[in-house]
């Protein structure tokens, strides 16, 4: 049973409820202008001294009318807009949208395109997870060093993106039935290079931080998300897996060619910030495995289904939901096509960071202010996706 979330949970302070001295509560608005809310996001905290008594996330500062825009536009027209959802992971956003449209239109994707998509998605996962960990440690006060180490690796991946799609962050790379540009052998070699080098970065990173006493003390048993609550609140992605929920769409749906690739899904038991941190590290290691297999097995062939028209693309009436395991969790697109079929009648996004954010209060209450930003960092949000 989950309690109502955003509508201010009534908080009462009985005299001496904190056990020591009866004090007044202090309402602090963390954000929208705050160094560690990861964008324009606001948390209305009620503090008792340093402890959080109640917390209300306030969203919508970055609302850009994403869904309505897509409903006024041809199917392919909103592909570049999906880049802007989660601007860290434009590749996976593209894929999720393409997957939904392909499902609706019944398009078969050639093998090579599927492999390219897997490679891009796993590179995105590496990029996202390393940066998330960096940002989280930044919130812990590690003053940029882990973040910039992560950015060093991110640079290499972004260079590859630029080489294949022409843009570093807003890739707009996937198309219905495949991808826009074929990967050259040179691109594949770069990807292979990244995959072989990445473990070294992970080892270095772990050596520096995983067993750091301060990090352990700050993250273990902080912001615990119980398994039941995670399931009930619809949490997905690394956050759910850190709480012990065995739910990975790559295994559940076996979309793309994930059914043919071998990898494991790491699970945590406690669901605290440390688990969420370490699950991401372990997932990166699995991603590297997937990358190596995909790069080994990638077949020759067309990079896009030849029968798909890019212009005047129409879909027969119907509805469909396409979802993938994005780096942040289950990213789904629900699409309805009606008469004419030139543009979606209804276009809805299920953004993982928005759903994952809903239980912020449950994780934060009882902890200190300093923990709130760390817990928020461990949720891994991108405001472009939360507010859409």
């Amino acid at each position: 049973m989950i309690q109502p979330l955003t509508d201010a949970k009534p908080y009462t302070l009985t005299p001496g409820s904190n056990g020591v001295i009866e004090t007044q509560t202090l309402e602090v608005s963390i954000g929208p202008q705050h160094p560690s809310t990861h964008g324009v996001f606001r948390m209305d905290c009620v503090l008792d001294g340093e402890s959080v008594v109640a917390l209300k996330p306030v969203m919508g500062y970055l609302h850009r009318n994403h869904e309505q825009l897509a409903e006024r536009m041809a199917w392919l027209g909103s592909m570049p807009y999906t880049d802007r959802l989660d601007y860290f992971n434009s590749m996976t956003n593209n894929w999720a949208y393409a997957l939904a449209v392909e499902k609706l239109a019944g398009i078969k994707v050639p093998d090579r395109a599927e492999y390219i998509r897997v490679i891009m998605a796993e590179l995105t996962r590496l990029l996202n997870h390393s940066c998330v960990i960096g940002f989280m440690l930044q919130d812990l006060g590690a003053w940029g060093t882990p973040l910039l180490y992560a950015f060093r690796e991110r640079e290499r991946i972004l260079d590859l993106y630029e080489a294949v799609s022409g843009s570093r962050m807003m890739c707009n790379y996937m198309r219905f039935g495949g991808v826009r540009v074929n990967l050259t052998d040179e691109n594949l070699a770069t990807a292979k290079d990244i995959a072989t080098r990445f473990p070294r970065f992970l080892d270095e990173f772990e050596k520096l931080l995983t067993n750091n006493e301060v990090l352990l003390a700050r993250t273990q048993r902080v912001g615990v998300l119980p398994k039941e609550l995670a399931i009930n609140a619809g949490i997905s992605g690394p956050m759910a897996r850190a709480s012990g929920v065995d739910y990975d769409l790559r295994k559940v749906d076996k979309y793309g060619v994930y059914g043919r690739l071998e990898f494991r899904v790491p699970l945590g038991d406690i669901g605290d910030v440390y688990d969420r941190y370490y699950i991401r590290v372990l997932e990166m290691r699995e991603s590297i495995k997937i990358l190596q297999q995909a790069l080994r097995d990638i077949p020759q062939g067309p990079h896009i289904a030849p029968e798909v028209k890019l212009r005047n693309f129409k879909i027969p009436p119907g509805d469909g939901y396409g979802r993938i395991e994005g780096p942040k969790g289950e990213l789904g697109f629900y699409l309805v096509s009606d008469e004419g079929g030139k543009q979606p009648y209804r276009y809805h996004v299920r953004p993982p960071s928005f759903i994952n954010l809903t239980i912020l209060e449950d994780m934060c209450v009882g902890h200190k202010v300093a923990d709130v930003v760390v817990i928020l960092g461990s949720v891994d949000i991108v405001l472009g996706e939360v507010d859409r």
Binding site: P15, G16, I21, E22
Partner: protein
Amino acid sequence: MNVSLDHYLMLSAFLFAIGLCGALSRKNAIIVLMGIEIMFNAGILNFVAFWHYKYFAVLTAQMFAIFAISIAAAESAIGLALVIAVYRHYQSIDVDEMRSLKG
């Protein structure tokens, strides 16, 4: 004019009176405590002045000053703890409202 012991005695008498006035006339318990601290300090200043002008060869006055400062510190700790305890009961630290002897 040379500064003599008298000057210090006058000064400390004056400070003592100011502290007394604060302790007697203010309503806020914390300011009452502050008035008492001022009186303490005036007294200690007297000790030191006497030591300096009269008995500087003997350390008794300085010892008294040190002990007085320690007692003042202990007193202020207890006093402020009492203020907090009182605040918890009355939701106020106005000395005029602390009438009943029952806790």
